[in-house]
């Protein structure tokens, strides 16, 4: 028996969220705001792993995210 409609809707939503929130064209650094604990670690480790060229744009992202969070407090 196929999964009930509610489940299918939930699955579709999960898939949509994964795409719309993590993929697609990003035009400016402050497109993503996330919970501080997760993304600060994320950005920090990204800087370690990424090449020097992309590190600059990542630092800019972190600054933007940090200031956005500070404003929200």
């Amino acid at each position: 028996m196929p999964p009930p409609p509610a489940d299918r809707d939930q699955l579709a939503l999960s898939e949509l969220l994964d795409r719309a929130l993590n993929k697609g064209v990003v035009l400016w650094g402050d497109a993503t705001i996330s919970v501080a604990g997760v993304d600060l670690i994320y950005v920090g480790l990204k800087v370690l792993l990424a090449s020097v060229d992309t590190a600059e744009s990542l630092r800019n992202d972190a600054r933007t995210t940090g200031s956005a969070l500070a404003r929200r407090r």
Partner: protein, 270 residues
């Protein structure tokens, strides 16, 4: 007041197929040479990623896709002014034209595999439980200790239980590893079959979260039906493998212009 960006599209003379976006705001286009950015006015700070808002974003994209090539923007992209949008379109112009050409008349289909990387459903993953499998629920530890003290030092485990514990854990890890390897082989095979039906495909085997293996396919719209058949075929051939296939989606995973997120696969290869 900001501009909420939905997508970069072809520049066409005919009007947009959809009138409004988030918060019922009217949709407009900023055109630059042969491309356009579709946007609506947005008041306030970051739009919340509620199902309502995200579906609305998606609806705009799907409507646009009926008559033009679309590069979906990530949800929540706000531009401070028309000037910013214009600058961005100018800077990224060649990349966007290339991307639009690649995705023209294509849709994205996603497949997400869930590998069994843990103990079977219902079985706890603790080695301690594996140690006492089959014994009654009253725990081994408490039997020797009438007053259950919090201090770890007072716990009395039987002689040899330390080695047993570790060896059982080792056996568990090995069996998990073998099962995972077998599943990965099947997944790669299915991926190969489906990739034949697509113009582009990607497989993310993320070693950090071993259960997550996901694939994205850029499928020509007129091949979607045969792609669905191939998916059904794979499901029949491998009933023991759980996977979820969804689509058609706008080509979120196949845009490169303005990409800032460092994909794991790129880091890993570098």
């Amino acid at each position: 007041m900001s501009l909420y960006i939905y997508a970069i599209t072809d520049r066409l003379e005919q009007p947009l197929s959809i009138q409004s976006g988030l918060n019922g705001e009217r949709l407009g286009q900023l055109v630059w040479r042969d491309i356009a950015a579709v946007a609506s006015a947005y008041n306030g700070s970051q739009p919340s990623a509620s199902p309502e808002n995200v579906w609305r974003h998606e609806e705009v994209l799907e409507s646009l896709m009926h008559d033009r090539a679309v590069l979906p923007a990530r949800f929540g992209v706000l531009a401070p002014s028309l000037q910013h949008v214009g600058d961005m379109l100018d800077r990224a112009y060649p990349a966007m034209v290339r991307d639009l050409e690649r995705v023209r008349a294509h849709v994205e289909v996603g497949v997400r595999f869930a590998m069994a990387v843990e103990a079977e459903a219902g079985e706890p993953k603790s080695g301690r439980s594996a140690l006492h499998a089959g014994e009654p629920a009253a725990t081994h530890c408490r039997a020797a200790d009438p007053g259950i003290g919090p201090a770890l030092g007072r716990r009395a485990f039987g002689a040899g239980s330390g080695s047993d514990y570790l060896r059982k854990r080792l056996a568990q890890e090995r069996s998990l590893r073998d099962r995972q390897q077998a599943q990965l082989t099947i997944i790669r095979e299915i991926f190969g079959l489906l990739a034949e039906q697509a113009s582009e495909s990607s497989l993310e085997e993320n070693p950090d979260d071993r259960r997550r293996v996901s694939a994205a396919f850029l499928v020509p719209r007129d091949r979607l039906a045969s792609f669905r058949e191939a998916v059904a075929g794979a499901a029949n051939a491998y009933p023991e493998l759980a996977f979820l296939c969804t689509g058609p989606w706008p080509p979120y995973s196949f845009v490169t212009a303005g990409e800032r997120r460092t994909r794991w696969s790129e880091c890993h290869a570098g």
